[in-house]
């Protein structure tokens, strides 16, 4: 009996089935919890799912690499989903054409504030230079953030984690911050969420409405381009 269980466990650990199932189960449980909690941002489904799965992996001693072997099927869909962001954006084409200048100026202001404030605050609180360099590109989606980090002498793997944490932070605090700053324009709210917290913020923005979601997707794409240009300049300015 025990041997049977043992061999089943060995099979499950090696097959992609476990990682994939765990991801879908955790997400649905987190979603259920979020709705039960009257959709409070603190019970952010991405955050809760990550905690559930990381806890499960640590308890069972399964390595992250083994888990990702199965979960990569979900991870892969990020590509086609990013492409699909063109659809809501196309539906807001008229609004976008009306506000091109506002979008571009808002975006550049946001991208500069993101990098400069992250570096400034970390420096003031005594972070190491390596951490400061790794923090600079954290507002864009992980693969781009990692590439920038490498170019400016940061630690790419640390930057990847910081980018995900930034995304989660943004999706948790966005509604509070934008309400407090009296930003009511839905397009501006969307652009802010995509610029500050890339795809994870965009996932949240889509839940808030069609216009917000479309402009968040736009902000995420444009911020990726702008950050690639701005951050290396900023780092050179500070560290010579």
């Amino acid at each position: 009996m025990n041997d049977d269980l043992q061999s089943i466990w060995i099979y499950l650990e090696a097959s992609p089935l476990l990682g994939l199932t765990a991801t879908l189960l955790a997400y649905q449980a987190a979603h259920w919890l979020w709705r039960k909690g009257r959709m409070t941002p603190l019970l952010n489904p991405v955050l809760v799912s990550i905690l559930l799965i990381a806890g499960f992996l640590m308890l069972t001693g399964i390595e992250y690499r083994t888990y990702f072997n199965g979960a990569q099927f979900v991870h892969f869909l990020l590509g086609p989903a990013t492409v699909a962001l063109a659809i809501p954006l196309y539906r807001q084409l008229r609004l976008l054409l009306q506000s091109v200048t506002a979008v571009l100026v808002g975006l550049v202001a946001g991208v500069v504030s993101a990098a400069a404030s992250a570096m400034g605050v970390a420096w003031a609180l005594g972070a190491s230079e390596l951490t400061i360099r790794s923090l600079a590109p954290k507002s864009v989606t992980s693969p781009i953030a990692m590439a920038i980090s490498e170019g400016i002498g940061g630690l790419p793997s640390l930057t990847a984690v910081l980018a995900i944490l930034t995304g989660i932070t943004g999706s948790v605090i966005a509604v509070w911050v934008l309400d407090a700053a009296r930003v009511k324009n839905e397009a501006a709210r969307g652009l802010a969420m995509g610029t500050a917290s890339h795809g994870i913020g965009t996932a949240r923005a889509i839940q808030l409405g069609e216009v917000t979601g479309a402009f968040s997707g736009l902000g995420m794409g444009l911020a990726a381009i702008a950050t690639t240009l701005v951050v290396p300049l900023l780092v050179r300015l500070v560290y010579g």
């Binding site: 955790a26 997400y27 990550i50 799965i53 990381a54 992996l57 640590m58 992250y64 888990y67 990702f68 979960a71 990569q72 990020l78 086609p80 990013t82 492409v83 699909a84 063109a86 659809i87 196309y90 506002a102 100026v105 808002g106 975006l107 946001g110 504030s113 993101a114 404030s117 992250a118 605050v121 972070a127 951490t131 923090l135 954290k138 507002s139 992980s142 590439a147 630690l155 793997s157 640390l158 984690v161 995900i164 930034t166 932070t169 605090i173 911050v177 407090a180 700053a181 324009n185 397009a187 501006a188 652009l191 802010a192 610029t195 500050a196 979601g213 902000g219 990726a224 690639t228 240009l229």
Partner: protein
């Protein structure tokens, strides 16, 4: 069948995006270039086909799910973050809040200026 062909459209855009991004040495990831390609395609076509709409809506309604596998990777770097947790967490929260407010306020203000013009 229609759904399958629209899933193929999304994959083709991504594929073309990856190729273009690499050939032109763009600093942007392939899927973002693919998004631009699909956006241009929709403008040329002048509308969103119903099947594409369905596939896109389904994918985007579960966008948060797709970040979980990469997010769990945090567990590998816990020690790294633990050593400088204070500057890191304060920098993340302050900088994200500031970016949200600055971007939103600037864009909203400029959009209002434009509307005030005759």
């Amino acid at each position: 069948m229609a759904l399958l062909s629209y899933i193929t459209v999304l994959l083709l855009c991504q594929l073309a995006g990856e190729v273009v991004a690499r050939l032109a040495h763009l600093p942007v990831p392939g899927p973002v270039v693919g998004m631009v390609l699909l956006f241009v395609g929709l403008i040329v076509k002048g509308g969103v086909p119903e099947g594409l709409e369905k596939v896109g809506t389904t994918l985007l309604s579960h966008l948060s799910l797709l970040f979980i596998p990469a997010g769990v990777g945090i567990m590998v770097h816990l020690k790294l973050i633990a050593t400088e947790w204070l500057p890191i967490s304060v920098a993340l929260v302050v900088s994200t809040a500031l970016t949200l407010a600055v971007t939103g306020v600037v864009m909203q203000w400029l959009a209002r200026q434009r509307r005030k013009q005759p």
